[in-house]
Assembly symmetry: C2
Homo-oligomer: 426 residues x 2
């Protein structure tokens, strides 16, 4: 771990965030929702300012030679901006986790005890080019009573700066603490490392982006950091699988949105169904432009297929997150072999089995060690919205604090509230 001196500017932001977090923790839902509604309104009424800043980012990005995919991630238009505002509306509609009590009970000695949800304090977020992240994380932090310090990618600096200003303006207008949302406007890369040193000011660091960013944060953060976003996802087609279902689920998990962490990377197929499953599956996937990286047995089954774009797999294909229309395929002889492959190569994100056999389904759910385990469903469902959390700030693959999609509740801690009437410990 490298350490570095933290600039006075960041230290000042950290202190302001701490003060704001204390005020925010006391705000009732109504006041927070009022501020959030103001943010959504500002996103709609001041669209042109945001779009102008975004055009500047896009122009600079083109000049810098960003790829078409990168430029698309950067792009905001009226529709996308309205989508961001709708996201904020959605956060308003979610229940406030703060103040919720659970495990409440009366102890035998008459003490009344409960755990009460409280905000974590100050959340740091370091992310890449998508400017919507600025608003999404600010809204979720605000609703959960946490202050936040945001550091977006340099490609989106103009868009992010305007969005942050708009959010802070709405906070001020609503009478909420403005420093509850702060954005690091400098694009100096050294500031990321400095942010990661600020364990006294930042209670939890959330990296949102590619594997390199997540690893950098995990390595250098001095405060707790969410580990996640890297998904090497498997689907095992058992010998008892419904093969039509297997084709549909595999196609969805691989093709529906190949660039995200819950997309399928490796298909494991039981040898008894491989001859029947793989040719039609390869045909379907071929239509969608998927390239198959096949082990020797699956390649032999597909070699004759004209439609299939199948090449021999290399050792690097196992345990690889492709984030593209590429799927590794391997034939196995048993559930045990599939489980062993997943244990060795999985990243603990999302793993699925396709089976009609109850015992196989049960073993898979019991034994696979991952944030989300599926029977007869696409790994693409690992998502805060899909899981009914309303929204998510990240998907955690660590086992501490929160695992899988992190929604509002996962941005809280709790305190024990104990009420007596002169109770002393015997």
């Amino acid at each position: 771990m490298s350490t570095t001196a933290v600039s006075e500017q960041l230290l000042t932001m950290g202190r302001a965030a701490r003060v704001a977090s204390r005020a925010l923790a006391k705000l009732h839902s109504q006041a927070k929702d009022h501020a959030l509604t103001g943010i959504a309104r500002a996103l709609r009424t001041r669209q042109e300012e945001v779009l102008a800043a975004n055009r500047q980012d896009l122009e600079e990005g083109k000049r810098a030679g960003l790829s078409a995919a990168m430029l698309d991630r950067l792009l905001l238009d009226a529709e996308r901006l309205d989508g961001i505002a709708q996201g904020v509306d959605g956060v308003v509609a979610l229940p406030d986790p703060v103040g919720e009590e659970f495990d409440g009970r009366l102890l035998p000695n008459g003490l009344r005890i409960a755990r009460r949800r409280v905000p974590l304090g100050v959340i740091g977020a370091v992310y890449e080019s998508r400017p919507n992240v600025t608003v999404d994380i600010a809204a979720l932090c605000l609703k959960s009573g946490n202050a936040c310090i945001l550091r977006g990618g340099k490609e989106a600096i103009h868009s992010n700066a305007v969005l942050a200003r708009l959010v802070r303006g709405a906070l001020a207008e609503a009478g909420a603490p403005v420093d509850a949302v702060q954005f690091v406007e400098s694009t100096d890369r050294a500031l990321v490392l400095q942010l990661l040193q600020m364990k006294d000011s930042i209670d939890l660091m959330i990296p949102r982006g590619g594997a390199d960013l997540v690893r950098f944060v995990a390595e250098h953060a001095t405060m707790p950091a969410v580990t996640g976003g890297i998904g090497v996802c498997h689907t095992y087609v058992d010998k008892s699988a419904d093969l039509d279902g297997a084709v549909r689920i595999t196609e969805n998990a691989k093709v529906q949105r190949p660039t995200v962490c819950n997309a399928l990377d490796c298909l494991l197929v039981h040898s008894s169904v491989a001859p029947k499953l793989l040719p039609p599956l390869a045909k379907e996937l071929g239509k969608a432009g998927v390239e198959l990286h096949c082990d020797a047995r699956s390649l032999a089954l597909l070699g004759a297929q004209q439609a299939a774009r199948a090449v021999p797999a290399t050792d690097q294909d196992w345990g690889k997150e492709f984030l593209a229309l590429v799927l590794a395929v391997k034939v196995v002889d048993s559930l045990d072999e599939a489980l062993a492959h997943i244990e060795r190569y999985g990243s603990g994100h999302s793993e699925a089995i396709i089976t009609e056999d109850h015992a196989a389904a049960t073993r898979f759910l019991d034994e696979v060690d991952a944030a989300a385990v599926f029977v007869n469903a696409s790994t693409r469902f690992t998502d805060g919205g899909q899981f009914g959390l309303g929204a998510e700030v990240a998907i955690s693959t660590s086992k501490l604090h929160a695992r899988g999609p992190m929604g509002l509740r996962e941005l809280t801690s709790y305190k024990w509230v104990v009420q007596g009437s002169g109770h002393v410990r015997p």
Copy 2:
């Protein structure tokens, strides 16, 4: 953060713990309880072996000039050993958190989803002289399906080694994975730093001991570590307090066991009740041998009292964990002043208010940011057993993962279990 090469011996232990943790995660409660019952039995039938090893520790301790308090912490006798065995019986009686499902529901699209508790994996524990910790942590880890690597203090090395051997023997006899409990037998201090580097083998590190040990672990651990064990605890006597209750609660919180983290360190008294409360309180505390470190106003009220052992407080007395029969005392003019003092000097462990005023109680519970907040009760109640968790491995003052007493459930994570019938994401 310093880094250091990890010895082959520890790496081997780490790999064995990982393998054992996978086997342990699959054991049913019955099998785990069978092993725990065997441990309790061995503690009773092989008492003499343990006591002989303990005598050796005590002799070496005396020769090394350990204090009477240290020697007492080290001491095992038939009664204490039976207490440890009873602790294991208690763990057998607790419900197994592993496999418990929560937040289970049917999503609108027909997916059945739930969070299911799973073990964390491998727990590391670094602790000081009390040999009971070896058995306590091993039992709690075993019940919660976690393997553990234990490193006790060098003073208790002979006792701990025998206890660990006895635990492992009981595991073997019960057919449970023996390497689920491993003890580092070397007293080489460098090994602690090495253990803290083993983030691939150890999922959570628990320091059990004084502030220096906790800080050392927080600073050097590369894996998540429990922060806790340091309690600068306040009790605020409000103007509306029942003063007899205030005396009883203060006396209990300070005197009942002054060497532990939930013992009271600082009493804040509203100026309107200070003249009436402090003289009789000082008399009670004086009987118990408590020394009062008083601010100017409280000293003025106590100066005339013959019974009170009162001296002027220094700046170092505020925010100090005394772990002894010493109490800092300060007169404040309002609840606000008390809240500000606690915010500035508290360690986020346990804080109490004595009041008959509902609004004051509510504000205190709402605004004090600590693991446990009390109304009209002694801070000594912050304890896994007292809170109804059955037992505890540590008391966390961090907000991530678990806060306050950590029992069996706090030694688990969860996975999302999702069951469909051919579900694909639209």
